[in-house]
């Protein structure tokens, strides 16, 4: 019914616009206004459109400024990892450069569109080329890009080329499947046991990440679900696996992401620098939590009015989410990450069961 009414309204609106246009034309005729119906832009059109072009420049600037003013607060808080700091620095330097280029070029484009609009019988300037000019605006962008390239490549190399045999690091497997995450700790030997999907059906399905029980390295491995903990200021080496399709382990607060590929072990490493408790005290995070809780409160009122339960208040937690399309519940494939002090981490991990207990 609503569909029919909406359709009818749209059609009637269309007819109204058409008739208003007809009336306008008739009035113009009656007034004796020379109707230019060539459908080719004349000086009046050029004048108006040229001015609109300049107004559009203002619109672009306003939208840009508005978005930065209104939406900066939803951006991620400061990085919670070591490499996150150079990451953010590179990001803001790159943004500064492109915003500068944007401001200048949009201004020239729209200002020229306004200034040289075809009025007063102006004559165009027959200017075919200028190789020096081309050189200038080829070389300058090239230099800027080269600087960004080198800076980016050095940062990338520092992030991606980490020592896999670092004995000080904690090795954790992130195991992705449709549609949840599991984390496997390497245990005391800090070596993950071999694993493969063909072992998944062992032990009545309790071998949830398919550890190969013939490999002793795996006997002390610890599998957790729902949440995993990492100690602050310790290097973590993540090894990613997937059980079925492509997933992506995305941990935005740490500036970390790596695809999980079935048949392959991918890896990413970072050192967390802020405990969950510390991050909760961060001003930006606290403000965000406040905003979210206000929204949840408003939503809860609506739920209560419908006789349903209200929502629980939200507390900040680091997140692991999936960022590669993986099927129906791609939008809800998450795991909580807790960054502990070393003491709390040790307490937490020692309370978890190793694979050997499943093997009994």
């Amino acid at each position: 019914m609503i569909g029919l009414l909406t359709g009818a309204v749209l059609v009637l609106m269309g007819i109204a616009i058409w008739q208003i246009n007809n009336i306008y034309q008739l009035i113009q005729n009656k007034l004796g206004n020379k109707r230019d119906d060539s459908q080719i832009a004349n000086e009046k059109d050029n004048d108006l459109q040229g001015k609109l072009m300049f107004a559009f420049l203002v619109f672009i600037y306003v939208v840009t400024i508005y978005c930065f003013w209104a939406y900066s607060k939803v951006l991620l808080p400061e990085a919670a990892s070591e490499h996150g700091v150079p990451y953010d620095r590179l990001l803001w330097i790159s943004f500064a450069i492109i915003l500068f280029a944007q401001t200048i070029t949009q201004a020239l484009l729209h200002y020229f569109a306004y200034k040289y609009r075809g009025i007063n019988n102006r004559k165009a300037f027959f200017f075919t080329h200028d190789n020096n000019l081309e050189l200038v605006w080829t070389v300058i962008p090239a230099i800027v890009f080269f600087i960004l390239i080198i800076y980016g490549m050095v940062t990338w190399s520092n992030i991606m080329n980490f020592n896999e045999d670092d004995e000080d690091a904690i090795v954790i497997e992130l195991y992705a499947q449709q549609w949840n995450w599991k984390a496997r700790y390497a245990g005391q030997d800090n070596v993950l046991g071999d694993a493969n999907v063909r072992f998944l059906n062992d032990y009545d399905g309790r071998n949830t990440v398919g550890i190969d029980s013939s490999d002793p390295n795996g006997w002390d491995d610890i599998v957790v679900t729902q949440e995993f903990h990492i100690p602050v200021n310790k290097k973590i080496i993540f090894k990613m696996r997937s059980q079925d399709v492509l997933h992506s382990a995305y941990m935005p607060h740490f500036r970390a992401q790596m695809n999980c590929v079935p048949g392959m072990i991918t890896e990413f490493s970072f050192t967390p620098t802020k405990t969950t408790a510390e991050m909760r005290m961060n001003a930006d995070v606290a403000a965000k939590v406040d905003r979210i809780n206000k929204i949840r409160y408003d939503n809860s009122q609506k739920l209560i009015a419908k006789g349903e339960e209200s929502l629980e208040p939200y507390q900040f937690d680091y997140l692991l989410l999936c960022a590669k399309i993986c099927g129906t519940s791609h939008y809800n494939m998450q795991m909580k990450i807790v960054v502990d002090t070393e003491k709390d981490y040790n307490k937490w991990i020692s309370s978890k069961e190793a694979f050997s207990s499943i093997m009994q």
Partner: protein
């Protein structure tokens, strides 16, 4: 060597050789061949036409009006879901049927909508609808040829495109749902119906449709390349070609190089799906059982897909840039600034586009060293792109700007090309990609450069060459309304989206409500959807203008925009062979606008150099 100019339908048309025809045969001024045209029936004129102008119109109507309409409609459906998650909508009930129980969208169909939207827009609208329409219309007319090298292959190319469109639309209605693994259809998700229902018959039909699409595209490209090389009229050297032709020509070459790789990826995927091979699959456990596949890698698919995928976006963009060059020059009454630099940048972009594909795969698990290589090449490709933008701006400088709707869209293209291109510099840096890969930042970027920029090129081309296509003018006031509402909505949709992406929200999420962390993005999503609805409504103005003007538009004169290029020397009424009598000869480049010492503010290419005229360009 003249064709009969009378009304006798049996027009005998002779193809004339160019100077370069000497290279192909020993005789000067040879006829290539004679073409007999018999009286056209309705079928041979409108349905199975071999005339490039009719085929152009067929591509326009199928690719842009029909498939474009569907592509936009799909996007409005999922934008409604994103703004008001899990709400009940009557439109969902009407259009999604069983996929919207009680009017609430099912998560599976969300992924399918997103997939088919992307597929239709990238391939059917922006590749076939853009190249198919304008390469077909303009190549013979602007180079001075009677028709394409092979009218028959041209016809086959369109009908294969039509068939592939029909199959893609049909796939929307299969029981288990259409393909739903994203337009990038990575395996294993796209290979295994057990992992996703859309990966059953829906995916099979997608693959068949795309295989036929690739065939259509290759036939078209072949024709364009051969025609441009061989059938230029006397005097039409390569450096006298308008930039549209350079763009279409180079685009066709990129297409021939890259589309076959997509086809190979599709064939290997078909083999994995139906013939038990393991090109892309290994060590998979799904629905309780270990599958037999061993040794394959999804990363291989990604390489094969993106080897096409990246050039594809330049296949989309280059024709739009060529069209913009033409329209800005004509409407500035000024030569396009830096013609040779523009040609060089087209060639540079084309070459570089084949070596940047890995920037879609920075965190795919491939060797990080490749990440460095692809960052390097990707930031290189920004250089010729920047040169083009500066040249457009300089063309406007000290021009005599005529703001026809085509000109507005061309300037709009430059604006959104700059905005979108600049964010590409962020994404092209492998380091920065880590935290924004597969987020809405990517979606904002590619929509600005492709979905808006290239689309503007398409619109600009339609407004500008409508008189050539239909012998009538489109209504300019409706054109102005179409442009301004679209321009405002476009930035309204995609500017805020960058922030949503930088906030950490991944793409292809059915709803954001599973994460309280994203609750404060809900308002932004509503604004984006509202602007999207406005943009959609604005396209109805264009649709009305187009259809109304086709039949009732003001009759066009031969050269309404006072342009220098050859297509405007052909008669308004279409005829096979394009020109009665001899094909015009060309004496100058395509951009003698406001040349000093000339009477008019433009000198068509067919006008010989005057006695006292200075030869400034090739």
């Amino acid at each position: 060597m003249e064709a009969k100019k009378d009304k006798n339908p049996r027009i005998r048309v002779k193809m004339e050789s160019t100077e370069f025809g000497d290279l192909l045969s020993d005789k000067k001024k040879n006829d290539f061949h004679q073409v007999h045209h018999h009286k056209d029936t309705f079928i041979t004129k409108y349905i199975f036409s071999q005339d490039h102008k009719m085929i152009a119109k067929q591509y326009l109507i199928t690719g842009v009006l029909f498939m474009g309409f569907i592509g936009i409609a799909l996007s409005l459906l999922f934008r409604l879901q994103l703004a008001w998650p899990e709400e009940s909508f009557a439109v969902f009930d009407i259009f999604l049927g069983k996929w919207a129980p009680e009017g609430v969208m099912d998560p599976n169909i969300y992924l399918a909508l997103v997939t088919i939207h992307g597929t239709i827009m990238v391939f059917f609208v922006l590749t076939a609808g853009l190249s198919g329409t304008f390469s077909n219309l303009l190549i013979p007319l602007q180079i001075g040829a009677r028709d394409m090298a092979s009218g028959f292959l041209n016809m086959v190319s369109f009908w294969l495109f039509f068939l592939s469109s029909a199959i893609m639309i049909a796939s929307l209605f299969v029981e288990a749902g259409p393909a739903a693994a994203g337009w990038t259809i990575y395996p294993p998700l796209s290979a295994l119906p057990q992992a996703q229902s859309g990966s059953g018959m829906g995916m099979t039909l997608w693959l068949i449709s795309m295989a036929i699409f690739v065939a259509s595209s290759l036939l078209g490209s072949l024709n364009y390349i051969v025609t441009v090389i061989n059938l230029r009229t006397k005097g039409m050297s390569f450096f006298r070609l308008p930039l549209t032709i350079w763009a279409f020509f180079v685009t066709a070459i990129i297409g021939v190089i890259s589309f076959p790789v997509l086809l190979s990826a599709a064939l290997l995927l078909i083999m994995d799906r139906s013939f038990g091979t393991s090109f892309f699959l290994s060590d998979i456990f799904v629905q309780g059982e270990v599958l037999h596949y061993q040794g394959g890698s999804p990363v291989l698919f990604e390489h094969l897909f993106w080897f096409l995928g990246h050039p594809e976006v330049y296949i989309v963009l280059l024709p739009a840039l060529g069209i913009t060059s033409e329209i800005i020059a004509t409407n500035s009454r000024k030569p396009i600034f830096g013609y040779r630099a523009m040609v060089a940048s087209i060639l540079a972009i084309a070459f570089l586009s084949t070596v940047v594909w890995g920037h879609h795969m920075f965190i795919s698990g491939m060797n990080p060293f490749l990440g460095s290589v692809f960052t390097f090449t990707t930031l290189l490709i920004a250089i010729p792109s920047a040169v083009k933008a500066f040249n457009y701006i300089t063309t406007l400088w000290k021009g005599n700007l005529q703001f026809n709707p085509g000109m507005l869209f061309s300037i709009g293209l430059v604006s959104t090309f700059i905005t979108g291109g600049l964010t590409g510099i962020i994404l092209g840096d492998s380091t920065l990609d880590i935290n924004i890969h597969d987020t809405y930042f990517v979606v904002a970027h590619f929509h600005l450069v492709m979905g808006i920029s290239a689309l503007y090129g398409l619109f600009a081309g339609v407004y500008h060459w409508f008189p050539k296509l239909f012998g009538r003018m489109m209504n300019k006031n409706l054109g102005y309304i179409h442009f301004w509402v679209t321009a405002i909505s476009a930035y309204g949709v995609f500017f805020p989206m960058h922030f949503v992406g930088m906030a950490g929200l991944p793409r292809r999420y059915y709803t954001n409500t599973a994460f309280p962390y994203f609750d404060d993005l809900a308002d932004i999503n509503v604004i984006i959807t509202l602007f999207a609805l406005l943009a959609g409504a604005a396209q109805l103005v264009f649709l009305y203008n187009f259809i109304h003007s086709m039949f009732f538009g003001k009759e066009a004169e031969k050269n309404p925009w006072k342009s220098t290029t050859l297509e405007w020397t052909a008669p308004v009424e279409h005829m096979h062979g394009n020109w009665p009598g001899e094909i015009p000869h060309v004496y100058r480049w395509a951009y003698d606008y406001s040349k000093p010492g000339q009477q008019d503010d433009f000198v068509p290419q067919i006008i010989p150099i005057g006695k006292d005229e200075e030869i400034t360009e090739h």
